[in-house]
């Protein structure tokens, strides 16, 4: 495996120079001739009926080109989840009701931003304030205010793409107020498992909402050409084809009449995949006015009205044998998805999806509820459920280990899954580095010496140190629209190649890793590759950079496309070189040579010429495609957890050493260790970068990040008040790669960009307990919580 020329090498990013020189164009940088600027009027109330909207004064303001309200868009509905069971519940602008502070009410398009903003102040809205509810548990009560009382039809925009329209009603069997999603999965016999257990423990954990904080704010530019009837859009997004699909459904335009153009994306982390009102409205206004329209959100709007991570309550009960073997687990998850469904039904499904691949629990019951509240909308955020569920399970396991006097690492060894295991839903772990990861991480954190658990000496120091560990997993793509990625490799006269891929580089380095895959497979050098990406007209479909699909799914598509091009080259070369079997040929640096006689070679350009002359002008174009999960053709069931989820799970084992200042309550993360099983790493530097980003985000979520909401009002919508890590918070970081080989991955690779945000939370939580001897069951672990736990306040 080590004789690769490009794979696994620390090749610098191909988009590095354009970014380092400030030449990379992001959506916020786009400016078109005649462009108008849109601004959004938002609800100041968490729950209110709209009695009347008067836009007449705003329309009179010179420079205002259009004002639109929900009345103009009554029929438009869309959502991240749109199935017969969960019909779309979002509208671009509020119709009849507003449901959270920040809900979109009207949009103004004007000659400049200042005029648009002025116009917003001239719109008069009469509201009737309604009772509101702000926590999931309160919203579930029978007498809670009903947030969605509109009649949603049980049809699905996704029907034409594989969601069956079932005749039977999808009225939920569970009768709970404000329920937006329900997942129930079980296997084995949980009650029996508890009966056979030597020790049973129950815990409740709570994690708050967090913000993505992509450095590039959300923005959209739309330009409709009435002559060609084509809509051009520039979006800061992770999935151009999914956005095009949403736009085509909501605007009622054929998909081919919408072109998403390439831009660089200034961070996404899950928060740029849903369709947003500002995107729809920019497109709608551009069609209406025949001029380009840009809507850029300011930082406060990004915090308030894009997406947050779901605040989640996890209740877990586990039964174990004396030796630490887990016999039974009963997990309940309640997610607050805010005013609209967002990804509520997905996150409660994924909490199961990221719970069960780690430990082999023979008797297992999982139930998840996603609940409407009058808070901002929650959507995917890096790990999507993994941080919440992994923190809870491994905190709980640590408590059990302590209760029964076992070493947590030993207990983990006893219960983790292994390569070859088949999960209860049928997914097979063709690669799984959990055991090796545990060994590596425990060693790197110096577990035996740093763990205080079994030490008897009492220390009087103000600063207390401790160590913790936790495990996590992540999918490598799944079946979600558009279900597959394709790639095209076009060869040029000189033997160099252009790679066409719909995958967007959102910072994770996909243009580079995909180029490495192409270079390795085809036998050309990195500088011979030009990437054309992120454009729905130029590029073939792609799953998008979410669900961690790019390395495995798009990577395979690129590898197949390269192999296709190579086969065509070799066939031509075989004729020229007089070889019968193309197996006898190999390629390197744009040359084709005989394996046995490398001096006998021709240049790619000669083979291409021969192909043009001798094969109907074929200039050699390679094609490849790969499904989100080749073994199935359907979405997994969110409600029942049935069906296959992913072709390969990435894993990580993470450990932390912390120092707690018992006087101030401040927790300092001294060292963060990640042993990541991402299969075979395509580019170590990039893999490490992903891990560092995950660790930093995870540490932020563990120790300081929290969206402060008080009656639906966001109190910290700025970087000054929302405490995300800065350079001074950087811990010593150790990354170990458990280089497994994922047989289904390109060159053995699988996901790396999401999973390891999750384990660091539990590792820190467990380390804090180890340091101070008290458990904090909620995140973030703020100084206040520490002092409270220590009984000091």
């Amino acid at each position: 495996m080590s004789d690769y020329k490009f794979i696994g090498k620390d090749i610098p990013r191909v988009d590095g120079p354009v970014k380092a020189t400030g030449k990379a164009i992001y959506t916020v940088d786009i400016k078109l001739p005649g462009m108008l600027y849109g601004k959004i009027l938002r609800s100041p109330y968490p729950h209110a009926r709209i009695l009347n909207i008067d836009t007449s004064e705003a329309e009179k303001l010179p420079g205002v080109q259009a004002v639109i309200t929900g009345e103009d868009l009554r029929e438009v509905r869309y959502a991240f989840v749109d199935t017969p069971r969960y019909p779309a519940d979002e509208q671009p602008l509020a119709v009849n009701k507003v449901r959270y502070i920040g809900d979109e009410v009207a949009v103004v398009a004007a000659d400049n931003e200042a005029i648009a903003e002025k116009a917003l102040t001239l719109i008069k809205v009469d509201y009737e304030i309604l009772p509101a509810v702000f926590t999931a548990e309160e919203a579930m009560e029978a007498d809670a205010p009903v947030i969605h009382d509109e009649q949603l039809e049980g049809t699905s925009a996704w029907e034409d793409w594989g969601v069956a329209q079932k005749k039977q009603s999808h009225e939920s069997e569970v009768k709970i107020s404000n329920l937006s999603g329900h997942t129930a999965v079980s296997f084995g016999n949980v009650e029996q498992g508890f009966l056979e257990s030597d020790y049973i423990r129950e815990d409740r954990f709570e994690l708050k909402a967090t913000a993505h904080c992509q450095m590039e704010p959300h923005a959209a530019v739309a330009s409709y050409d009435p002559v060609t009837q084509k809509l051009h859009v520039w979006l800061s997004t992770m999935g151009i084809f999914l956005k095009r699909y949403f736009l085509s459904k909501t605007l009622n335009l054929p998909a081919s009449k919408i072109r998403v153009h390439h831009t660089y994306v200034g961070g996404a982390f899950g928060g740029k995949i849903d369709l947003f009102p500002y995107e729809f409205c920019a497109a709608y206004l551009s069609i209406k006015l025949g001029r380009p329209v840009k809507i850029e959100l300011d930082r406060e709007e990004v915090f308030m009205t894009t997406r947050q991570r779901h605040p989640i309550i996890v209740k877990i009960k586990s039964g174990v044998k004396k030796d630490g073997t887990i016999l039974a687990q009963d997990i309940k998850v309640i997610a607050d998805n805010g005013a609209y469904r967002g990804s509520g039904p997905v996150v409660i499904f994924l909490c199961h999806g990221f719970s069960f691949p780690i430990y082999n629990v023979p008797n297992y019951r999982y139930e998840g509820f996603s609940i409407y509240t009058n808070n901002g909308i929650r959507g995917p955020q890096r790990g999507h459920g993994a941080p919440q569920i992994r923190f809870s399970i491994d905190s709980h396991l640590d408590l059990i280990a302590r209760d029964i006097g076992l070493d947590l690492v030993e207990m983990m060894f006893k219960n983790v899954r292994h390569k070859g295991d088949i999960l209860p839903n049928g997914d097979r772990l063709n690669s799984c580095g959990l055991t090796e990861g545990l060994q590596g991480a425990a060693k790197a954190i110096d577990w035996k010496n740093k763990r205080r658990q079994f030490k008897t000496e009492t220390e009087n120091s103000r600063y207390k140190r401790g160590a913790g560990i936790s495990l996590c997993s992540m999918f490598s793509g799944a079946m979600y629209y558009p279900f597959a990625s394709a790639a095209i490799v076009k060869l040029h006269d000189d033997g160099s190649a252009t790679l066409f891929t719909g995958a967007q580089d959102i910072g994770q380095g996909s243009y580079t890793t995909l180029s490495q895959v192409l270079a390795e497979e085809l036998g050309i050098d990195m500088e011979d590759i030009h990437v054309v990406a992120g454009d729905t007209d130029l590029c073939p479909i792609d799953l998008g950079s979410f669900l961690s699909a790019t390395a495995l799914v798009t990577g395979n598509a690129v590898k197949l496309a390269a192999a296709d091009a190579k086969r065509q080259l070799l066939e031509c070369a075989a004729e020229i070189l007089g070889v019968d079997n193309i197996e006898d040929l190999e390629t390197c640096s744009k040359k084709i040579f005989l394996k046995k006689e490398p001096q006998k070679s021709i240049h790619f350009s000669q083979a291409i010429q021969a192909s043009v002359f001798k094969r109907d002008g074929n200039p050699i174009i390679g094609r490849g495609s790969y499904k989100g999960y080749p073994e199935t053709d359907r979405y997994p069931s969110l409600a029942k957890g049935k069906g296959l989820f992913t072709g390969a799970y990435g894993f990580a084992v993470q450990a932390a050493e912390v120092e707690v200042d018992t006087l101030t309550g401040k927790v300092n993360l001294l060292k963060a260790v990640t042993y990541h099983d991402c299969g075979y790493p395509l580019n170590k530097n990039i893999v490490e970068g992903q891990v560092h980003g995950c660790v930093s985000m995870g540490a932020g979520q563990a120790l300081s990040e929290e969206v402060f909401l008080e009656k639906g009002q966001l109190f910290n919508p700025s970087f000054l008040t929302y405490k995300l890590p800065i350079s001074l918070d950087t811990p010593e970081s150790v990354e170990g790669l458990v280089a497994t080989i994922e047989p289904s991955g390109p060159f053995g690779a699988k996901e790396v960009g999401e999973g390891s945000v999750a384990g660091i939370l539990g590792a820190i939580g467990n380390a804090v307990h180890d340091a101070i001897g008290v458990r904090i069951k909620g995140l973030p672990i703020t100084p206040e919580k520490v002092l409270r736990a220590l009984g000091k306040i």
């Binding site: 970014k19 030449k23 904080c213 450095m215 590039e216 560092h692 980003g693 700025s718």
Partner: protein, 153 residues
């Protein structure tokens, strides 16, 4: 456009008209098309809009354009010379200090200021120098390593 200001922008003397209430960031991005200077928050809290004013890093979203009359400004567009990447740019790329790239222009400019003043900064000095610049992608580690490797040169 009611005031003319004169400034030395990336080494070139420019006369431009600005409004009283326009920030330097706005003028750079909207009027001069220098979009390499990024707007992350427009509140002076992220460092994405960093430019060098008289050689010192400042948040251009907090400075009114009229205030820079007669001053010199360097933006990210002025860092590479004659088509060659500046060593900081090169090393940032080699060491993996760039991911989404949105914080990169600001990071490179504060690094330039740091190394111009202090060619051999310590680990702590590096962390301090970039502490006003938020990067959500890298966890800062590879940025710090890149600057360290420049300091070792």
């Amino acid at each position: 456009m009611n005031k003319m200001i004169e400034l030395k922008l990336n080494g070139e003397t420019r006369k431009i008209y600005v409004n009283d209430n326009q920030t330097l960031l706005e003028v750079l991005r909207e009027d001069l098309g220098l979009t390499g200077t990024k707007k992350g928050c427009n509140q002076g809290e992220c460092g994405a809009c960093t430019v060098l004013l008289e050689g010192k890093p400042v948040s251009s979203c907090l400075i009114l354009a009229v205030k820079v009359n007669g001053k010199s400004i360097m933006t990210i567009e002025g860092v590479a010379e004659e088509g060659h990447l500046h060593p900081i740019q090169e090393v940032f790329n080699e060491k993996g200090a760039i991911q989404c790239g949105f914080c990169t222009p600001g990071m490179i400019l504060v690094t330039k200021d740091l190394l111009d003043k202090n060619p051999r900064p310590t680990f702590k000095e590096i962390k301090d120098a970039i502490s006003g610049n938020i990067c959500r992608c890298t966890g800062y580690i590879k940025i710090i390593e890149a600057i360290q490797s420049l300091a070792e040169r």
